[in-house]
Symmetry: C2
Subunit: 256 residues, 2 copies
């Protein structure tokens, strides 16, 4: 009858001695017996069990759950596997989203290394158009415009990239909500995110009223100039209208 010491078993199974200690203490894998000097001794059955444990551990099961799988006769292994699979899939989906977000951020970071700053506020517009919007804005809001331009200069490049990444994510969600009511909680929640995002570009100066007006004004701009709401080079006037209405509603109901 083969007997293994901790070290031998550990080597056979490719784990550390510490691991066996832990499994012993928590009752997941008890040695077959002990010597007089309390040395742990394992047999073939224990090796078998250890390899079962490692099978499930590789599948990212927690040790407690493995113990159940192996010991609880009433435990439905099939159920557990299916359930676990759902969890792993969710993680996988999440990772996919994260990777997309990283890609976007990287892209934004690349762009910003080229295009430096106050131009950001008028991004995507021709120089003349930008100039004319700026003049118009100054007429309307005066001082605040300069402050906004200054606030923007204080943002770091990664910060701008992050904010832009968030913008495209918000835009995606809002676009998918285009058939919902502009007053719905879902839409207004995203608009709130959008507002906070824009506010970080603009800075937090000005009274609540001024901010609300400026935000609604931006919404109007989206309708007047479709380039603001282009997605992948295509314009979406119906989305621009939806967005603008939702922003106006938000400015009037939640910012005053």
């Amino acid at each position: 009858m083969q007997k293994y010491s901790v070290k031998q078993l550990a080597k056979l199974a490719g784990v550390s001695v510490r691991t066996l200690h832990v499994y012993d203490k928590m009752g997941l894998l008890k040695p077959l017996s002990r010597t007089e000097a309390k040395y742990r001794l394992y047999g073939e059955q224990e090796l078998l069990r250890l390899q079962q444990i490692l099978f499930y551990k590789e599948l990212d099961f927690q040790l407690q759950e493995i113990a159940q799988i192996l010991d609880d006769k009433d435990f439905d292994v099939m159920d557990s596997l299916k359930n676990h699979k759902v969890n792993l899939r969710a993680k996988q989906d999440r990772l996919a989203t994260l990777i997309l977000t990283i890609d976007k951020t990287i892209e934004n970071l690349k762009k910003d290394t080229v295009m430096s700053n106050p131009a950001e506020l008028y991004e995507g517009l021709s120089a003349e158009k930008a100039q004319s919007y700026r003049t118009e804005a100054i007429e309307k809001y005066g001082e605040e415009v300069y402050k906004s331009e200054k606030a923007l200069l204080k943002l770091t490049k990664p910060q701008i990239a992050e904010l832009k990444t968030e913008q495209t994510e918000i835009a995606q969600k809002l676009f998918s909500l285009i058939h919902k009511s502009i007053e719905s909680e879902q839409v207004q929640t995203q608009i709130a995110r959008h507002y906070e995002n824009i506010r970080k570009f603009w800075g937090t100066h000005g009274s609540a009223d001024t901010q609300a007006e400026a935000y609604a004004g931006l919404g109007q701009l989206y309708v007047d100039d479709e380039r603001f709401t282009m997605i992948d080079g295509k314009s979406h006037p119906e989305y621009a209208l939806f967005l603008s209405k939702a922003m106006k509603y938000f400015a009037e109901n939640r910012l005053k």
Copy 2:
């Protein structure tokens, strides 16, 4: 100038008060000031910073790394993002493999709920063929065959499913190594796994010599009857030959 208490800031950003305590202690987000009673007070800048922190946290960055991204001027954010993306991709790939493994195990578990046991040893064969192999085995190995059949009965259903899952994984690896030398370390490592796997079906009785012979005999069987090495319903005689040779080499060089 807006000032936020811990609770207010926590609510605004959707985190717990504890989280803010932790960020404070580790220096990731210090309050702007403290009241006389040591209450933390945060300003707009801190809210902004917190949201930056959450941006990276959602991307599964560790807090330490986030601190670097935000504070270390010489830290290359772009590099960090790219590197992080590679990590996430690796995790994603691993998850994909795990899910496949779970699927296999679920399939095996389903099958075993139907087909109950000693038949497993002759799986995939017609009843007559199975009978004839069994008779042949008994002539060759005598007693051992009965012991194997008994050993098999002691395995639980999930155990059998796990072992079969492992078998298909080993088979996949070996199949991808078909152009390598049968004596190569890579091939022999997988053969060792295969042997250990088979041994769990057979049990551990018999002398080392008997076990080695029986294992080599199984390899011969793979060549004689292509149904043993079918993958997705297709037979692969060249793989059967490769496998059989590798098993023979293993039996002769590592089992004696």
